[in-house]
Point group: C3
Chain length 468, copies 3
């Protein structure tokens, strides 16, 4: 028996299932476009072997380890590094066994499905992970990782990835992207401009970061004009390394459109570290509109990931740092917050701003109505907690009736877990085909249209929206 059901995620009723299967078959082998994610470009630059099963599947994947933590397993016991460099578990086999002991905690989650898919399709395993199978699976994966066909570039090619975007901070030297380019390898790994650390006055070391931005670009980043020009320069540098997009992780979707004098005065204030939280918020908001204007100059697509309370647990943040599964969504207002930016540039069809949300209530109430009206707006795919079967289903059911398919941009895997990329795209393709089959069988879409839309959702919309 295979680890994964060949008809998984397709509708159960036979007339729907057979159509959904046909639709899925028509896109199953389409190339993977991964225009937003967090893979490490070093993997493809150095093309070294992945260290071991625990480092591949457990330690870096907060989807997985947070679930064990939520049931009382200390993070350190799973090998997650401490900020103070204090002791954590380092034996990969011990970590793997702890992971296997908690595998049942993932039942019914997308992680379980992604893991099964990776185990079976990437590593050829045939038994579910459990305490009984843990050691054998560890040995098997360990053995695979030593072989050339499991090196990062080989897997990239085997996965059928047409383009993969990583995400780097504005101060990054992009050395790994340069190394990839200079290596002669033909895999398309591009960067994305993520300037949060030089835009968010509340980011650790903000003023130093801005100074470093000046040093890198030769601009006087102590002045508002020089600061903006430094962004222009870095954006150009990122474009030289393949970037077609910027990305902005902000606590809210707040935007502003101040006059130059006000913006410059606010910039002085935030740079001196003298701003209130409200002023920090306003500055981030102003910068979104500035970034949108620069996008009109240089053609970069703009992504906004808003609405997460990062590092919610003080204890976890102090002990283990950022990105440890304790980023929790909050209600997000797009209608009021985006108005300044939209009044400035929202009716311009040359601009593309892609909106992501962790607050599903905004799909139908705010995002689909906005994306179904403003030419500059597109609606990004279900993000994070919602890039799952039910998440994708709700997304399509709630947004399509208001903004259609063509104001959406295909799928993002948004992952740090390289081996899960095919699994995640496979889930999205199946969920989309299930939805399309249901539309056809309930007389809401013609069958020929469904086959066209399936191609659109799988690759065409991503290629177009991200200008790939």
């Amino acid at each position: 028996m295979p680890l994964t059901d060949p008809d998984r995620l397709l509708p159960v009723e036979e007339s729907q299932r057979s159509l959904a299967r046909d639709l899925y078959d028509s896109v199953a082998d389409a190339p993977i476009l991964s225009p937003h994610g967090h893979c490490d470009p070093r993997w493809f630059g150095e093309n070294a072997r992945f260290p071991n099963p625990a480092e591949l599947f457990v330690v870096p994947d907060h989807y997985v380890f947070r679930m064990l933590v939520s049931q009382g397993v200390p993070m350190a016991d799973l090998g997650v590094p401490r900020v103070d460099g204090g002791p954590v578990e380092t034996d990969p086999r011990t970590i793997w066994r702890r992971f296997a002991a908690g595998a049942h905690l993932l039942r019914g989650t997308p992680s379980a499905m992604w893991l099964d898919h990776s185990f079976e399709h990437v590593f050829g395993l045939t038994e579910p992970l459990s305490p009984a199978t843990a050691d054998a699976q560890f040995d098997h994966i360990e053995d695979c990782l030593g072989r050339p066909e499991f090196r990062p570039r080989a897997l990239f090619e085997r996965f059928g990835i047409e383009a993969l975007a990583t995400t780097e901070g504005a101060l990054d030297d992009l050395r790994w992207h340069r190394m990839i380019a200079e290596s002669g390898w033909r895999g398309r790994v591009i960067t994305t401009y993520r300037p949060d650390a030089v835009i968010d006055p509340e980011f650790e070391g903000f003023a130093d970061n801005v100074a470093q931005l000046g040093a890198l670009t030769g601009e006087d980043t102590a002045s508002w004009k020089g600061y903006l020009d430094a962004h222009r320069a870095r954006r150009a540098f990122f474009r030289q390394h393949g970037a077609t997009a910027t990305d902005h992780g902000h606590p809210t979707a707040r935007t502003e459109d101040m006059g130059t004098a006000d913006a410059a005065a606010l910039f002085d204030k935030v740079l001196r570290g003298a701003c209130t939280p409200e002023e920090a918020e306003a500055f981030r908001g102003q910068m979104l509109t500035e970034m949108a204007r620069m996008s009109l100059e240089d053609g970069m697509v703009m992504q906004l990931h808003a609405g997460s309370w990062r590092n919610h647990s003080r204890t976890v943040f102090e002990t283990h740092g950022r990105d440890k599964g304790f980023d929790i969504p909050r209600p997000t207002d797009f209608v009021g917050n985006l108005k300044p930016l939209l009044d400035a540039v929202g009716m311009n069809a040359d601009l593309t701003v892609i909106l992501f949300t962790l607050d599903e209530t905004t799909y139908g109430r705010e995002l689909a109505p906005l994306a179904g009206a403003y030419p500059a707006l597109r609606l990004g795919p279900p993000w994070w907690f919602f890039d799952s079967y039910e998440g994708i289903r709700r997304y399509r059911e709630i947004t399509t009736e208001t903004c259609g398919f063509y104001n959406t941009v295909g799928f993002n895997d948004d992952t740090r877990a390289f081996c899960s990329i095919p699994a995640r795209h496979d889930v999205a393709r199946r969920a989309d085909c299930a939805y399309l089959a249901t539309l056809v069988r309930t007389g809401r879409l013609r069958e020929a249209e469904a086959f066209e839309v399936a191609q659109d959702l799988t690759h065409r919309l991503a290629r177009k929206a991200y200008r790939l």
Copy 2:
């Protein structure tokens, strides 16, 4: 092959589908009650021919043209008039071709379904709209429109409309309703009292509007008492033209219940144009409670449409004016906001206040619990972005368990697009019958009850709630 699937929107599984079909057949030909909408009464007064296909299907329907705009088609290219009278496309065939070129953008939306239904059932077309069929369809519809059986009154009768309510401002002279009444034609076209322009201090020309209200009624609308009496007089005038209901489009559901002295003082302030936004909001809130009290005097049903940020795009509002598809929903609080009104009159079973929302999160959390308790409250059908198959499904699944069927009021089409009325009611009937069949097949409703409820949802509840 027909343009529309005869079993569209019914459940796919056969035992559900066959019951749903039987339920649908039992209500498919029931009369149409349209107790809330925005058709132009002039159509039925003058009974002139509709000008052309573009003016019938594209130019006035912001559901349709906003989707093309969202993908970069300028509004002016679709014939939408400019506020300054500047040039816009005037050739109906050109507009129609642009519409056809973007028809795929509507895939999966209710507009696509309504259009197909109108094309097939009203105009007898058999091919989907596309660039290839655009000209022939234009010619065909154009030809139809010249024939007597496509005049407004003929269509009204053919559609099986038992009663159609239009919506007029408080200052309207209702001449078209008078013309209809005096014409001897038996179609029941009634008006609805919509006093926003004389109630909302932030409406363009508010003070002038109130003065005009005084002139029309002979009341001293510079005094609070005279202002209220002027409303009483206009309500009576509207009732003489068939009105059984009032309608209130407010940004929020805020209500107030001040003493007379406070209300009079606030009225003075808003009339002088000296009020803050908060006072404007309070005044609108006070007037909702006053309207409810008048409804207890004169028996008019009260409708509240709250929660839309009207004219969100400054550019679009300045260039093309109101109602251009850029009204965007916001989170809406009913529990706190309605309390003053409910404490005043909410336990009175002689009053009917019908609540609409664009914030689906309030269905289960606020509206169904409120409507399932207060005798004066009823829950209006899914509104605007949500009068769609998925919208109706979510509405029934979320509200029925808490407030049952009998605290809801049947369907509203709420449309300016006359030819879409049968299509919209057909969608609602199918969606309701699909829901009822599912209840029966999962043991939550007896089959005989389902047939009764189907009649209730199709016409009885609307007739009763709107006192038609």
Copy 3:
């Protein structure tokens, strides 16, 4: 024909239904764990007969009578007592007939399903309630109630209840629980510590309640330390009567973690009745964190029921008092509000805090992400308006993908309606099995896992979470 469909609530498609039926059969007869509810312990202490059908099914059940009230039936006509002792209907048969006359209002609601289940499975009735059957049903139930096998203890045993928790205020003398213990009857009826009346400064008679708390415990409850020690003493007293849990019904999920001096100062203020609403809110918030700390001392599980606007109608509250179906949910913030408590004790796996919500938007956005990360948090089952088929379905579909099954705690019936307990657990078991069968048939869970999870959801998780 039976009153209830043997396959009710199971999926309709046959391959799903047959698996769901097998899953259901495997848990249908499992013992009932009822770790949170509002049954009257006196029933089991005295074991007297239930007075009559109206007192059993209508008068105490606000789910039922509010629906009749919402359609204009005066509460007094249904026998609901008045605060002022004024006249209300007292003839049970008259009340029963009024109930029967409005039985159709409950169509499609969980109440209809619970009533049918109770009528059929508890009382052996075979006809639906209607005006035509009302008298015969009344007579039949009345006759049953006189028989020994319909006494409370006999029904408790017949229902297969393994443990039933009632809920008592901090000042309760727990006499009925003592009577049960001393009676030698082996039914496990335990209490729960619900200290709202001595924690909420806005509760009627708060200062007197706190004084009484001092008198009962011998502590000086005029001091912060004595007040906390008095809680410790009462918690110990409740544990002697079986309590394993506390329960907190707060308007919001606000928590605080002040220093001792600040907390003591605030306590002085609230005790003097000198606090603002904001200070009352802060005090309640501080006490949640204090209660969590005491739970770490004494091992009691902590339940938080937040987000209801209690007694929304002033008229109903003044005339008929609390708990009359006019408690209306509001938007609830867990992410910001719980942070102080979570920073204090949230990473402690020895603590269990169970969160309930009436705001379904928080399931996916806040509660599942929080429960899927913090070891101290568990997510309670769908509460109140949502302990229904659709409510349970949405709960599973939205939460499972993010926090899995093992951060949830099984089902609560939370009822005052004793005879509905088997019906409610039956609905939950069927809804859960329907969900599990769907997961299996769509390749998201292995069949053997589904049978295990079915046991977990039915009894194991409740036993573990509530330490029963």
